[in-house]
Symmetry: C2
Subunit: 410 residues, 2 copies
């Protein structure tokens, strides 16, 4: 069974906000055995929403819509669905009571405008929302090519949409088919084209096992998908064999999950010293459930004075070599290892820009150091002036990758 997603909001089309609901829904629909055929994003105008809904109904029997259910005039998703159904909007008393209770519980005054959120197309079923004010609804609509489609409408706030999908939508869809099973293997130290050539026979269209490569910073993810477990496992085993030299872990995961898995498995304690990244690498590690068993601390030593006081970097070294230097990165990681007692430590210092670069030390220059059981390694990268946020994100990922590589082979 196919599904389609429609996300609604001017803010998704004019650069204000990136949509995360499609991805969240994609993972969940896949679990239910549905494939998303296509996703559409519409602005606020009712006519645009109607067009997106029409196309989604061309694509699929199950349509999930998020956004445009707020209490204000610019929220018109309920109007668009009603218009496509040829139905009126009806005031739902039960939904209104739930909205009142939700708002009053949080100590806010209930406002006349919230009544708009209790309007649903006549004939639709209300989906209660215990995560926010706006209830959702589900309606049955005619599909352009004939037959009927079910349209589930949820609020746009990501955690409301997620909670409501799990509690209200998933049980109504039920298990629509075999979930498309998926296994992902992660590789580093090999290019996409080299690995892709080795896996070419897997990657043609129309194979029973569908294999794709996605490049992430510093590593590649090879994902195999298939509804049959045995065929998938056989393919995964073969892919593993082909890329064995470059394998760093399994799962469609981020670098912090690959590192955390190794640390947790062996009980290796870890600490970080970050300057340019200001806590990005530590915050990524903090995502992983259970990480508190091994993550001791991180020091964001942004000012030079903090590098001295927190990490024992010598003032004279900072004076002589500068804060963005091999010597400083080494001193940071050595000081952190001493102070924290962690077995694995990593440090990063660099120039994110837009200002602060020079010919000798341009924007994008980053120094890394890692220390495992007393063994220190340092590495320089020059990313170029590719934007402050790109440099910082990349440096955080690279630090975690270098820390992973500093560990002995498992």
């Amino acid at each position: 069974v196919n599904a389609a997603v429609v996300t609604v909001g001017d803010e998704l089309l004019d650069g204000r906000l990136a949509d995360t609901n499609t991805s969240m829904l994609g993972a969940r629909l896949r679990q239910l055995g549905l494939t998303i055929a296509a996703a559409h994003t519409s602005g606020d105008p009712e006519a645009d929403i109607v067009l997106a809904l029409r196309r989604a109904l061309e694509d699929a029997e199950v349509v999930v819509v998020t956004g445009g259910l707020g209490p204000t005039e610019d929220d018109r998703t309920r109007h668009a669905v009603a218009s496509l159904m040829g139905a009126e909007l009806a005031f739902d008393e039960q939904a209104w009571q739930a909205i009142r209770v939700f708002i009053e519980k949080r100590g806010f005054p209930v406002h006349e405008a919230n009544k708009r959120q209790a309007l649903v197309p006549a004939g639709a079923e209300v989906l209660p929302n215990r995560f926010g004010t706006a209830p959702g609804f589900v309606a049955t609509l005619d599909r352009p090519g004939g037959g009927c489609g079910r349209v589930f409408v949820l609020p746009g706030v990501p955690y409301e949409a997620r909670g409501m999908f799990d509690e209200e939508v998933a049980p109504r869809i039920g298990q629509a088919g075999e979930p498309l099973l998926q296994r992902t293997l992660c590789f580093t130290g090999v290019t996409e084209s080299v690995l892709g050539a080795k896996l070419a026979t897997f990657m043609r269209e129309g194979q029973a096992v569908r294999v794709g490569i996605n490049a992430a910073w510093g590593f590649l993810r090879v994902t195999a998908q298939c509804a049959e477990a045995a065929a998938l496992d056989a393919a995964a085993a073969e892919i593993k064999r082909i890329g064995a030299r470059f394998l760093i872990g399994e799962g469609y995961v981020e670098i912090e999950e690959l590192l955390a898995a190794r640390l947790l498995e062996k009980g290796i304690t870890v600490a970080l010293a970050e300057s340019i990244t200001a806590g990005l690498a530590a915050a990524r590690l903090g995502r992983v459930p259970g990480i508190s068993a091994v993550l001791l601390e991180a020091v964001v030593a942004y000012a030079n004075e903090a590098k001295q006081r927190r990490l024992g970097v010598a003032a004279e070294l900072l004076e002589r070599e500068g804060a963005v230097s091999e010597a400083c990165a080494r001193a940071m990681v050595e000081g952190l290892a001493r102070e924290s007692g962690a077995r694995l430590t990593g440090a990063v210092t660099g120039i994110a820009g837009p200002g602060g670069g020079s010919d000798a030390k341009p924007v994008g220059l980053v120094w890394f150091a890692t220390c495992f059981d007393g063994q220190v390694r340092a590495l320089e990268r020059r990313y170029g002036d590719v934007g402050r946020e790109t440099i910082r994100q990349r440096a955080a990922v690279e630090l975690l990758l270098l820390m992973l590589r500093a560990l002995p082979p498992s």
Copy 2:
């Protein structure tokens, strides 16, 4: 002039990856005076890409496509465009030389598979890519309703797509019209429905100034858009007047930018002590260019031992009250203020889950403390068991919001 965006990749539809290119392109197209009418996401199969392209050409005269230009078999965007043009793919010798140089410069071996990336539809113009291997291209296609549309095809890697849009696409589109001007005002301490009701006359469809409200965690953004500066400024002034009591800043910005603007304006130094968020709040502040003028340090005191050693939290206090307590949050912020010398400090400690909760201290319990010039305030939040990542992200935003509120009125 209308534009449409097509993003390509199975990984965008099955939950592996969230698309950020549409939002990036939306901001840039708006600057050129184009409005994105709709955005579409397609999976890897050629037929799906063709369908998405057809719809995009129905929507708009300018179509920007990202993704599916890799060197492997699962990358089929160039095939889809060629098929829609009724053209063959042709090997572009100049593109191939550029690909070779790019790969060799980075010390990787050039592979036969990379030749695939030098294939472009006959009749298309190659767009050079100095950020990665795959060149882009631009082609003119017939629109379903008649007339022609220009289709720009870029790689999916976000920073390659961004760089190529700025260097190759924007100059070719040129200034297509008046850029849609935009002003955003940020408010806190008021609900969306109350503020929306006050602004209702602005928010109806068909107004010269288009006004929308977006709820962010802890605050609201009201965005006014219009092509005429005078009308926009008048609307913004009126919106400011209406919401004056609740105004916390201007710009479609994140909480860290609102806080950083105030700190930089007054030269107020700042430091953070984070446990549950593991550096998320500091990393957000680190996004802001120039923040090094005021951000001294952050301490991610994850382990209790680190809270003692780095922040001087008493072992006896941790023993008696636990690490997630008002007393601990206060001790963290006081210790940090003492150690760092920063005028504004903030601390956060909580339980992100999934494990570690109890009846008295459930998952989602978070304690905050702020200190400005010696004045300490603490606050408790109970987010509920809404997921580890939601709790952490929310706690990071709330910490920055509380730090903003700890400052004297500007």
